[in-house]
């Protein structure tokens, strides 16, 4: 450890110019974590259920797009230029994306209505186990059907790199994927902010977060709104899943990976806080990249676990959350 720190200090001058690149790519990957954490936070805010199976639903979103894509692709053969491939490929991709978001909305709706609602009054233990079991069953079905080979997600746009800015002769690059993903996540964050804080629906959801019983007493149809929120959360997660599928490969086991990073972001930002989830995701993305280069590559995998453990030990309510612990 000490030698590592010394080597970091001696290499500081050489490594410092890399820092902007690390921060930028950290932000890009952090945006993905933020989107996952955002969808989990929305579920948690409405129903006070932490969805331990969310990672597998995210994975299911990516697979749904993969399955739907061949069905909606219509072959237009123009001249083989970059533009024509873009024209013939982007619209079906968007159609498939929207369809898969709808499918996941229906999945979330049905999962809550059939499996979660009947036991919502029960102990937290069975709620958590139910979520885990649903995720496990989903993963089992996907692995049985598609788990035998490594699948590559088809790309809607070509891989390109742009130089964002130049500092001391060393440029900082972002890929087209990263730029589009960041834009989408920021737009989604804005939309969910408006929906949660500016609309009647958002007020209803906040009322349900405070007390579901009280909400039903003032005439809110709690079950219906819970169903809707689960649908919205799952389709947001599916959007994240598509992005993860484009960044990594399609793999039934990506759910666990996703879930733990989403949890880390939520824990760091504070459970139930929308902007906390996003800021937590960004911090974890940057930490992963910076620690991975400056300290040891081993940190890339365990940053999120360390963040979870340290935050819950030192400041269990995270950066922006409320009341996480029980005091006796």
């Amino acid at each position: 450890m000490i030698e590592q720190i010394q080597s970091v200090l001696t290499n500081w001058d050489a490594m410092l110019p890399v820092l902007p690149q690390l921060v930028v790519s950290g932000i890009a990957i952090g945006m993905l974590y933020a989107l996952i954490a955002l969808s989990m936070t929305i579920l948690y805010r409405a129903t006070t259920v932490v969805n331990f199976g969310h990672g597998d639903l995210v994975m299911l979103g990516a697979y749904t797009l993969f399955i739907l894509l061949p069905m909606v692709t219509f072959n237009i053969t123009l001249e083989s230029s970059a533009l024509s491939s873009l024209v013939s490929f982007v619209p079906p991709y968007l159609v498939a994306l929207i369809l898969s978001l709808c499918v996941l909305f229906a999945m979330g709706y049905i999962i809550h209505r059939v499996f979660i609602w009947p036991i919502l009054k029960g102990p937290h233990l069975s709620l958590a186990l139910m979520a885990i079991a649903i995720g496990y069953a989903v993963r089992g079905v996907i692995r049985k059907e598609y788990g035998k080979e490594i699948l590559q997600m088809p790309r809607p746009f070509p891989e390109q790199e742009f130089e964002v800015f130049n500092w001391g002769g060393i440029g900082t690059y972002m890929t087209l994927d990263e730029i589009i993903f960041c834009t989408v996540v920021i737009v989604m964050l804005l939309i969910s902010y408006i929906v949660f804080y500016k609309t009647r629906f958002g007020q209803i959801v906040q009322a349900m977060f405070q007390t579901q019983r009280g909400a039903s007493l003032v005439g809110i149809n709690v079950m219906h709104h819970n169903n809707l929120i689960w649908g919205v959360g799952c389709s947001l997660g599916a959007l994240g899943g598509v992005m993860i599928g484009l960044t990594l490969v399609l793999d039934p086991d990506v759910g666990t990976w996703t879930l733990l990073r989403g949890f880390a972001a939520m824990t760091l930002g504070g459970f139930g806080s929308l902007y906390g989830a996003v800021i937590g995701g960004l911090i974890i993305g940057i930490l992963e990249k910076v620690l991975g280069v400056f300290v040891s590559t081993a940190f890339i995998e365990i940053t999120c676990y360390l963040v979870i453990v340290l935050v819950l030990l030192i400041r269990p309510r995270g950066l922006f959350g409320q009341h996480a612990t029980l005091r006796i």
């Binding site: 029960g122 102990p123 139910m130 079991a133 733990l260």
Partner: protein, 318 residues
């Protein structure tokens, strides 16, 4: 014939004759069931009896298995001497896992934290190749008990059965005692338990340490049974397997732990015989947990207890 409680003594005696009718492979499956009985009993202490949502069980399991494996390969100790140290390592890990609970971390916060703890442990098995063999795994020599080598599955069976019977009886006595009642009080209402003068913090550490001890012993048996440990054995799939066992069997029930481990461990062997079911363990286990939570929240042991009241656990369990 009217059943009475002597069945709990007759059944293990009948099981003693199992090696006469089983081949080597089936005997291996039975031994695996014995290992999972220990794992489930330890897990049930924290999840079922104390009522805490903790995922750290697989970490205890891995720590016990690797402790036993490292002691036999690096120090050349015979296997039977490593069983108790493996349990103690598990108990230490249990104490470590109870620290967040002492700090007031509960519910899903505890779940997430213990999940991260288990993944950190798995990462450390991969990252310390000098001790654990890294991702290549660790090959454990044949187990030895008092100078005898346990070369066949039949030999292992009798040793394992002895350990399991001792641990199950000890746990049963423990749960009927003051400690078991304190666990139940904490499960039902922690504030009320503290108000009644139960030192909840101490019982938290005790439950986690006991769970770690039992599961650690289970881990050392696993090392002796399988002979080769790899970090993938202790990933999240294993966590869900443990959950499936105690949910299907019945939360907080000793009979449930035994029943669940028999069913869940035997299921893959049954699946193997049907062509179209190969590779379906995951969704079958997931579906089984869903069905049990929805329709049979106390697991199969509650069904058994309905058939005949002697299968009820003697300690009160709500």
């Amino acid at each position: 014939m009217k059943l009475n409680r002597s069945i709990f003594w007759i059944l293990p005696l009948l099981v003693l004759a199992l090696p006469l009718v089983l081949n080597q492979y089936l005997q291996y499956v039975v031994n695996l069931i014995l290992v999972y009985i220990l794992v489930a009993v330890g897990f049930n202490l924290v999840v079922g009896n104390l009522g805490q949502l903790a995922f750290s069980n697989v970490a205890f399991f891995g720590i016990g298995a690797y402790a036993s494996g490292i002691l036999t390969t690096q120090l050349g100790m015979p296997w039977w001497l490593t069983v108790i140290p493996a349990g103690l390592c598990g108990a230490l890990a249990g104490c470590a896992a109870s620290i967040p609970a002492l700090r007031g971390v509960r519910l899903f916060y505890l779940a997430i934290m213990t999940l991260a703890f288990g993944e950190l442990m798995r990462w450390s098995y991969i990252r310390t190749p000098d001790l654990t063999g890294g991702s290549m795994g660790l090959t454990v020599p044949e187990p030895e008990v008092f100078g005898w080598m346990l070369t066949t599955e039949y030999h292992k069976f009798y040793v394992f059965l002895f350990i399991v019977v001792v641990v199950v009886i000890a746990t049963s006595r423990l749960l009927e005692s003051r400690i078991g009642r304190a666990f139940l009080a904490i499960k039902n209402d922690e504030n009320a338990a503290a108000a009644m003068g139960i030192p909840t913090g101490q019982y938290f550490v005790l439950a986690f340490a006991l769970s770690g001890f039992i599961v650690g012993i289970g881990g050392s048996m696993y090392a002796a049974l399988v002979g080769h440990l790899s970090p993938e054995d202790f990933d999240l799939i294993q966590v869900i397997l443990h959950f499936a066992i105690i949910m299907v069997g019945g939360l907080g029930s000793l009979i449930g732990s035994v029943l669940g481990s028999i069913l869940i461990t035997a299921t893959p062997e049954v699946i193997r015989h049907f062509e179209w079911l190969v590779g379906s363990e995951e969704w079958i286990f997931g579906g089984a947990i869903i069905v049990v939570i929805l329709f049979l929240p106390r697991g199969l042991s509650s069904l058994l207890a309905k058939v005949n009241p002697i299968f009820k656990d003697r300690y009160y369990r709500d």
